[in-house]
Subunit: 210 residues, 2 copies
Amino acid sequence: MPEERNISPETIKRLIIYLRCLESFKKKGIKIISSEDITAFINIQPSQFRKDLSFFGEFGKRGVGYNVDSLSDIIKKILGVDRKIDVALIGVGKLGSALIQYPGFKKINVDIVAFFDKNPRKIGKRVGNLKIKIEDISNAKSVIKRRGIKIALLCVPAEEAQPVADNIVEWGIKGILNFTPATLVLPRDIYVSSVDMASELGNIIYYLKE
Amino acid sequence: MPEERNISPETIKRLIIYLRCLESFKKKGIKIISSEDITAFINIQPSQFRKDLSFFGEFGKRGVGYNVDSLSDIIKKILGVDRKIDVALIGVGKLGSALIQYPGFKKINVDIVAFFDKNPRKIGKRVGNLKIKIEDISNAKSVIKRRGIKIALLCVPAEEAQPVADNIVEWGIKGILNFTPATLVLPRDIYVSSVDMASELGNIIYYLKE
């Protein structure tokens, strides 16, 4: 595989979209696809698809198409999800419970293997019909360290976001998907990405009002 | 109120964060706050807070602080959520169900008043302990038109995203919060904002690998 340099976040995000499409094709038993097949329902140009892949090598056969299984494997390797990625989730409220059961993460080979809360009434309870139980946040340090978990989904109330983030980073977390409205201040080598659904919705409302 | 022009999406997003903080203060019975009180746990500079508000007028009293109730009302008015905003949700899968129960929207005065699915086994069922039932997608047109709903949360499978979006726009939807991985192609006057959690997580994994 050629050296991967200067790959934009947009390309990476599209690769993740392609991967999920390929996984859907797989489920339906489809073996070979064209660039048009994969880009049609996500409204991406076939040429964009081919360009995105070209950063990483030559895939697919002219006039034949792409092998679904092997292209999926290749993209998984590029993204670093060719092995299952274990992540932890902190804060099992309404949103946290939903994320634990959200199938979209499994499709990119990510598994929420441990989830923590500080509420004694939640600890030991199951979420949906999953086997794993909600663990006491006071166990998070040892679980994260022992299992070498590097990524956490942060779903605690806004006022707890920064102190909890400080802690989990100390325990070895390197990447945080932040679902709280708080802006986290963390060391530069920690990769934080924020998802704030209420903000996105509020923005839509404001701009429709204008 | 002075004319609001050139207000950046970042300012609007912070106003939404402030609003949620103010609502939390309200719940705790706090009446007066300083700019430091509100910005401390969200890691925003007090000066940024004052600057954001200054676009819209002069609020708060030097040496006294901000009245929680009235500042909350003012921000609601700026954002256009001084009256309850009714939105619809399309696609009641795992994520859709979670969003219906997510308290973060209520905090900004947004109410998911109708949700639709095409799966006959879901139609007529309740979500969590809510009173409203899942409606047949074939009723969406009349409900959206009758209630004058302008905003929809789109949670259908990727391959259905574009046709469903085309339909709801035709029925009067002007803003879409898109939770599918599909890129929607819609008329220019339709405001679309996308939330793709799996993509955000995949990005973190890729950059940690690097």
